[in-house]
C-alpha cells in the first residue's frame, strides 16, 4: 500500500500588507476543511525548524503569498532548497478577478469574504492538481 503524502500549505501571513491576512485566513479555512493538507509554520521554517524543512523536502508544497514580493516562495527555495509545486499570489487574484483590495490588516471585513472564497477555490484546485500529479 502506498501512503499518499500530505500537501504542505505555506502562507506568507505577512503582517505588512492586508493581503498577508487574506493568505492566512484562506489557508487556515482550507486546513479546517480538508484532511489531506497540513500547514508549515513559515516563521519556524525560516528560523531553522528542521521538522518543517524536512517535511518540505519530502512532501509537495504549495505557497500562498500575499504580494508579488513572494517571500514564502523565496524562503522555501532559499532555506528548504525545494521549489513549491504551485505558487498562489493574492495580489494577482485581486487583479485578475477585479476584486477590491482588503482594507484591514487585522480583520476580515464582510466585503473581503468574496476574495477569501475565491482564494480558497484556487487553493483547493491546486491541491487537487498537485495530488493528481503525485
Amino acid at each position: 500500500m502506498k501512503i499518499k503524502p500530505k500537501i504542505g500549505l505555506i502562507a506568507c501571513s505577512g503582517e505588512g500588507l492586508c493581503e498577508g491576512m487574506i493568505s492566512r485566513v484562506a489557508t487556515r479555512r482550507i486546513l479546517e476543511e480538508r484532511d489531506d493538507v497540513v500547514t508549515i509554520c513559515l516563521p519556524l521554517f525560516l528560523a531553522g525548524g528542521q521538522e518543517e524543512r524536512d517535511f518540505a523536502k519530502d512532501n509537495p508544497c504549495i505557497t500562498v503569498d500575499g504580494c508579488d514580493k513572494m517571500c514564502a516562495v523565496k524562503g522555501v527555495k532559499m532555506y528548504g532548497k525545494v521549489h513549491p509545486k504551485s505558487s498562489i499570489v493574492i495580489s494577482e487574484i485581486i487583479r485578475k478577478g477585479k476584486h477590491s483590495g482588503p482594507i484591514s490588516k487585522s480583520r476580515i471585513e464582510p466585503e473581503d469574504e468574496k476574495l477569501v472564497h475565491e482564494t480558497m477555490k484556487i487553493i483547493n484546485k491546486e491541491v487537487d492538481r498537485v495530488k493528481e500529479e503525485e
Partner: protein
C-alpha cells in the same frame, strides 16, 4: 532636524498555534490603539525574502519582537536580517503568569485569549515607551 524614530513591531506570523494569534492581536492592539503614532508593523517574511525597504527599516529603527512561543522564530529572523532588536516579549511567558487566560483556538481566541492579547499589548506599549526614551536619550 532629526527624524523621529518609530519602533518597528515584529510579531509571530505562525499559523499552527493559538499563541501566534495572540502575538498578532497584541501587535494590532499596540499599533492601532495604544501607540499608533510611535509604531510601525514589520513584515517578518519580507526580512527573509530580502525585501530591501523592510530590511532597511529593521536595521535603522529599534525593533520590538512579540514572539508566540519558545521557538523564538521572530527574534531569530530579525536578528538574521541584522535588525536592531531592542526588546522581546514572549506570549508563552506572559501566559505562565496568567494561566487562566488560555486562548480557545488559533482561529478564535475567545474572551480569555483576547484578554491575554490586550495584556501582551499593554506590556508591548510600555516597552515601546522605554525603547523610544532610550533611543532619544542616546540621540541614536
Amino acid at each position: 532636524m532629526s527624524i523621529e524614530k518609530k519602533v518597528a513591531v515584529a510579531v509571530c506570523t505562525g499559523m499552527d498555534q493559538p499563541l501566534a494569534t495572540v502575538s498578532r492581536y497584541a501587535g494590532y492592539h499596540v499599533l492601532e490603539k495604544l501607540r499608533p503614532e510611535k509604531t510601525v508593523l514589520l513584515c517578518t517574511p519580507a526580512l527573509i525574502g530580502g525585501v530591501q525597504e523592510d530590511v532597511t527599516f529593521a536595521k535603522e529603527n529599534p525593533v520590538l519582537v512579540i514572539d508566540g512561543c519558545g521557538e523564538k522564530c521572530c527574534e531569530k529572523i530579525v536578528n538574521e536580517a541584522n535588525g536592531q532588536v531592542k526588546a522581546v516579549i514572549n506570549v508563552e511567558d506572559v501566559l505562565k503568569e496568567h494561566k487562566d487566560l488560555q486562548p480557545e483556538s488559533r482561529a478564535k481566541l475567545g474572551p480569555k485569549g483576547m484578554k491575554l492579547a490586550e495584556i501582551v499589548g499593554e506590556l508591548a506599549a510600555r516597552k515601546v515607551d522605554e525603547i523610544l526614551r532610550d533611543v532619544n536619550k542616546d540621540g541614536r
